[in-house]
Amino acid sequence: MSGNIAINTIENCTFVNITSTQEGGAIYLSLPGDLTITNCIFSQNTALDGSAIYYEETNLKTLILRSTFFYQNVAGENGAALFISGSSAMIIEKCNFIDNLINQNVQNLGSVLYLNNPGNISILYSDFERNEGILGTCIYYSETS
């Protein structure tokens, strides 16, 4: 059959103006396998946590974000662009995070990335501009449960 798929991928896609009342505005992930997201745009999405992408702890092998644009995403609490809770490895490469915002409450953390007990993280050749929060304005990292 012609539809065989070897690697889980999301590429050349746009996610715009998507709202969720809970976690993960555009994409909610809880998968114990590899995923690559390439050349995508996440813009003007809203959620409680992880307005563009919410990743919940399982046994993910590797999450790769490459050449992807996160713009004007808004979270009610944590991680306007990404909320990551546990993974074996995450690579962010050549991504842009611009004008992402979390609700201005001292208890809300990480206007771009909220990382809770993550695995190995690599952030390479990426740009962070005008992201607003109070604590951990761009990236908040915690090893607490």
Partner: protein
């Protein structure tokens, strides 16, 4: 099984619209608009291999695509202007679970809302390579 074109416009009902089981399905140039059901999803793929391309999914509820134990290739599709209305899965556009392999490319997700988690929900998976 190959479908070259599916047009479903302004359809409502109380059952899942299409269920594909143990099959190969190719949907090209599908039009799914104004679909309303009180079931948990509109398209269901179980233990199947499917290709969805150049298709338009708009103004629908509840969850549009549910896929389990399947391989899916979604390309050049539009998902938009839809909302989840207290559906069983609480997800708006796509829900993947259990042994699924997928590729989503060249597609647009625009103006979607749901009552719980994510317009694309990929959860509880045991991912395998088909």
């Amino acid at each position: 099984m190959t479908f070259n074109e599916i047009v479903i416009l302004n359809v409502s009902g109380s059952a899942n619209l299409i269920t594909v089981t143990d099959s190969f399905m190719n949907i090209q140039s599908g039009q799914f608009q104004m679909v309303r059901t009180d079931s948990s999803f509109i398209l269901q793929f179980l233990n199947s291999e499917s290709i969805l391309s150049n298709s338009n999914f708009s103004q629908f509820y509840p969850t549009l695509i549910y896929s389990s134990m399947s391989s899916m290739n979604i390309s050049d599709c539009f998902f938009g202007f839809s909302y989840e209305k207290l559906g069983f899965l609480d997800v708006c556009a796509i829900y993947f679970e259990f042994n699924i392999s997928f590729r989503i490319s060249n597609s647009k997700f625009n103006s979607l809302s749901n009552n719980d988690q994510g317009s694309v929900n990929i959860s509880l998976l045991l991912v395998v390579n088909f």
